[in-house]
């Protein structure tokens, strides 16, 4: 089995990184605190690279959207396919009545 790119590679990331590495650092920054070196190389890359900056903004926006999904559940009416069907309701009621 080929060893996948190592995420926990102890060798420090280069200060000048590729987009691939930078995008990974952005994603990683959601999961754990980046080392000083990682933060620095991410920042330097983002300063120079519009593509990765947009990428970072997009996945940050995605996070916010997901974190607020319960508001959506409470505040927007469910469409029919997001509701329990009448059959399912009947079935569940019947099931519960036996307990």
């Amino acid at each position: 089995m080929k060893t996948p790119d190592n995420w926990e590679d102890p060798t420090p990331v280069p200060i000048v990184t590729s987009c691939k590495q930078a995008a990974r650092l952005v994603s990683m920054s959601f999961e754990r605190r980046l080392t000083v070196r990682e933060t620095l190389s991410m920042r330097i890359h983002l300063m120079m690279c519009k593509t990765c900056t947009f990428y970072g903004r997009q996945i940050t926006a995605l996070r916010t959207i997901f974190s607020r999904h319960e508001e959506v559940l409470s505040n927007t009416p469910a469409s029919d396919d997001e509701k329990l069907s009448d059959q399912a309701k009947q079935r569940i009621k019947c099931f519960l009545s036996k307990h």
Partner: protein
């Protein structure tokens, strides 16, 4: 005033279980669908939740609403479901999965090299997006394209806001496994949303 309101807001007794399905069924179903993306599983989870609530009536403390209490039960049921799903996979399968995920990640980067596919500067008007029904339809469509295990891990992280060590412990996977999955999910979702939502707006 505060006390009185609190008491009416959180009655310490539960409502009649016969009314539960009508009162909470749709909400719980929608909640489950968001995470499971499978009607049959979601219906099943709702049923299991009501059953657990019925059997555990005494554990209701009245410190939250009846619905919040049920959502808590449902959340645990869904995590159990994910756990079973992961545990039933052979280890080699997970290694393969990670390998595939790495390759997919590479494909997404390759796609980004193409100037026409550079990520665009979309800063969604979050309020508008959140209340847009069509947006959620597109987003769900995009989530459905993720491998099931990836979308489960992603749901635990982003919808349930569990932290990485907690998810790894529940699913019995390494943090590297998880990081790759989450990274891939983000890459794929942003690409899918850009193509199917933002470019069309």
């Amino acid at each position: 005033m505060g006390m009185k309101n609190k008491n009416t807001l959180y009655p310490s007794t539960l409502s009649d279980p016969e009314t539960w399905v009508e009162q909470h069924g749709d909400y719980l179903f929608r909640y489950a669908m968001m995470r499971l993306r499978n009607k049959e599983f979601a219906e099943n989870m709702v049923q299991e939740t009501f059953l657990a609530a019925l059997k555990g009536k005494k554990s209701f403390s009245g410190r939250s609403t009846e619905r919040t209490w049920m959502v808590g039960i449902l959340k645990h049921k869904i995590i159990d479901h994910y756990r079973k799903d992961f545990r039933e996979r052979p280890v080699t399968d997970l290694q393969n999965l990670q390998f595939e995920e790495e390759q997919t990640v590479d494909q997404f980067y390759d796609a980004m090299e193409n100037p026409r596919k550079y990520p665009k500067d979309w800063m969604p008007d979050q309020q508008a997006v959140l209340s847009s029904k069509e947006f959620w339809v597109v987003l769900h469509g995009c989530m459905d394209k993720l491998p099931k295990t990836t979308s489960s891990a992603f749901a635990m992280r982003e919808l349930d806001d569990m932290d990485t060590p907690e998810i790894c412990k529940e699913l019995g996977i390494s943090s590297t496994n998880l990081w790759v999955m989450l990274h891939r999910a983000r890459l794929q979702l942003r690409e899918c949303l850009e193509r199917n939502w933002f470019e069309k707006k």
